[in-house]
Symmetry: none
Subunit: 226 residues, 2 copies
């Protein structure tokens, strides 16, 4: 499955190969420094966008057996968010453990991350040891949630996070740009009727009543960039 000179099992003391995904070079350097400081973890590649991340996993899987863990920032600048990237990874490359790191610990973010298939959610103010432990746990298939987050997320114990389809995300992105239904229809080569159908589905899934609120909620849940 991976570097055969070390081990071909998933022994807990073998080297863990990590793919870093963050749009900030500084943060990537920091994560790399922290992760590699203990010796057992090694960063085999870095990506700064969702697209790069997908490509990197592809490449790594076809040549090296793939990364053991993907450490992904929830925020990736312009393009798709870390949540979206995680969802896509889950659909195309099942079984790759993703650890989401974020600056803030909004309950909705954590829920969105877990719904998207992430095997962990860490804050950027986590200590080096916490980060390394979380990576190990994720590699072993365990879900890692710091106590303070877990309490808030599980304590609230509400409903499930409904997941939006890729097309619905497209619509949402257009919405955020202030486009009218007509403009969205033209831009996506579909009819206004279809746009309205998607919109109604989106409103239902997000629990909102209009487009403006939909954008706000989508942003808060990192479903779209921004």
């Amino acid at each position: 499955m991976r570097d055969s000179t070390l081990s071909d099992s998933t022994l807990s003391d073998s080297t863990l190969r990590i793919l870093l995904v963050d749009d900030h070079p500084v943060v990537r350097a920091g994560l790399r420094a922290v992760l590699e400081s203990a010796g057992r973890l090694v960063v085999v590649d870095e990506a700064s966008t969702a697209a790069e991340a997908l490509a990197a996993v592809d490449r790594l899987q076809s040549t090296d057996g793939g990364p053991d863990v993907v450490v992904m920032d929830i925020e990736l600048g312009e393009g798709p968010s870390g949540i979206e990237a995680t969802e896509r990874l889950g659909r195309s490359h099942q079984g790759v453990p993703v650890l989401i790191v974020s600056t803030y610990g909004a309950v909705s973010d954590v829920q969105a991350a877990v719904s998207a298939g992430a095997l962990g959610f860490l804050l950027k103010d986590a200590s080096a040891a916490e980060l390394r432990d979380a990576v190990s746990q994720a590699a072993a298939g365990s879900l890692v949630l710091p106590a303070q987050l877990a309490r808030r997320v599980l304590g609230g114990g509400a409903g499930q996070e409904p997941s939006l389809s890729p097309r619905e995300i497209d619509i949402l992105e257009e919405l955020a740009r202030g486009r009218t239904n007509q403009q969205i229809a033209a831009g996506l080569f579909i009819s206004q009727a279809t746009v309205k159908t998607h919109l109604n589905h989106i409103f239902g899934k997000l629990g909102v009543g209009n487009r403006t609120e939909a954008v706000t909620v989508a942003r808060a849940r990192h479903l779209i960039r921004g």
Copy 2:
């Protein structure tokens, strides 16, 4: 935490001593890795809050001649922001060059940083080379602003940043929550006509054509929370 064997003058090609201020251990590690990768820069101390930063500068100045540059995150978690810390540093320890780093490049943030006395404003997605150059420039007393930010701040082409009135901000906050004009009117104890008037002013000032886009632009410019 430092290295007195290198130099005690401020010659331009001597080692530059840096104080890092950021509340995220990962980001500090990243900044340190990037800054020290070239050899001429050395991080002599780190702080995670404004108070720690002030204390660190105090200590460094009384024992070693102080840091040559303070690299400060604009966001420092709970306590005072990097902007506030910069202001305080300017009042109590004149002459310490501060370089602000931020995730976003809101014009208002840049203006606030410069007003507070910062000698530079960098985005976290800056390259390693940009960061190191900016530190050198700041140490030499020059203001460093990446081209893309400078253009926006100095109004290269467009116009001034239109300022919204407090009432308009109120309206904008309600907009972001997805409220209808009727709901906004009720919530603010005014008529729908007034809401519409404010809305039209807002659209004009922000250069947008509808409420959804207005919220997006307002958020991007940090005019409202979120």
